[in-house]
């Protein structure tokens, strides 16, 4: 897995994510990006979770918003800041903030 992309917003303001090869890209949900792991808009989970097989979400940002890690979609791996540091150094070759 080559590129880890940080997503920090719920509304995606960028088309870039759709163009990245999901075979070489993982997603790290932080800040308001964690809503992708929590909400079912009109009953449906975020399309990000269908598209990318490796998805992380930051527990501190989930709890800041009054939500619980237990409410997170099963496909998402929840990590705290400490764990996120390991994800950045060990799970991807490079990272980027979209």
């Amino acid at each position: 897995m080559s590129l880890g992309v940080f997503v920090s917003d719920y509304k995606l303001s960028s088309d870039t994510l759709e163009r990245l090869d999901p075979g070489k890209t993982g997603v790290i949900l932080v800040l308001n990006g964690v809503w992708h792991a929590l909400l079912k808009e009109s009953g449906k989970a975020s399309s990000l979770l269908d598209r990318f097989s490796k998805v992380y979400a930051l527990s501190e940002d989930i709890e800041t918003r009054g939500m619980l890690p237990a409410q997170v979609d099963g496909r998402v791996k929840v990590v705290n800041y400490d764990g996120l540091v390991d994800v950045v150094f060990n799970e991807f070759e490079k990272i980027a903030w979209l």
């Binding site: 917003d9 719920y10 509304k11 800040l31 308001n32 809503w35 909400l39 079912k40 808009e41 009109s42 009953g43 501190e60 940002d61 709890e63 800041t64 918003r65 009054g66 939500m67 619980l68």
Partner: protein, 136 residues
Amino acid sequence: MGDVKCAFIVQKPQYKGETSRLAMTHALAYQTVEILLEDGDTVTPSLCFVGEGVLGITKGQKAMDIYGITSSESHLKNCLLVDLDVYVCKEDLDKFGISVDQLPDAEEMGAEKTINVVPFSEIAKKMDEAKHVLFF
């Protein structure tokens, strides 16, 4: 001029920039504005959450524990406590799958007001009735 009604429409989610949070703190200031106005003059904001603005106003927030800042939940409770009218768009809550039970109240603090969950048409009416409309 008497009372000037304002519609404060929060459409950005909490916890990104400051704008959506400033909607609440500015609304709270309606309590003290009379210091600067003539007798009988008032400003009355209605605080309305629509679209992505309904994100980040649910209860149980841990912003103080984690980031050391006052939570949006706490600001919202203060708004209720000082008798501001607070409206949250029902269609948007439904769309995001957020239930009315997840919204906070400030009963334990002695607030008489609660959050009004209303259809967007009600919020549009507040905008029509207001002299000024401010999007946050």
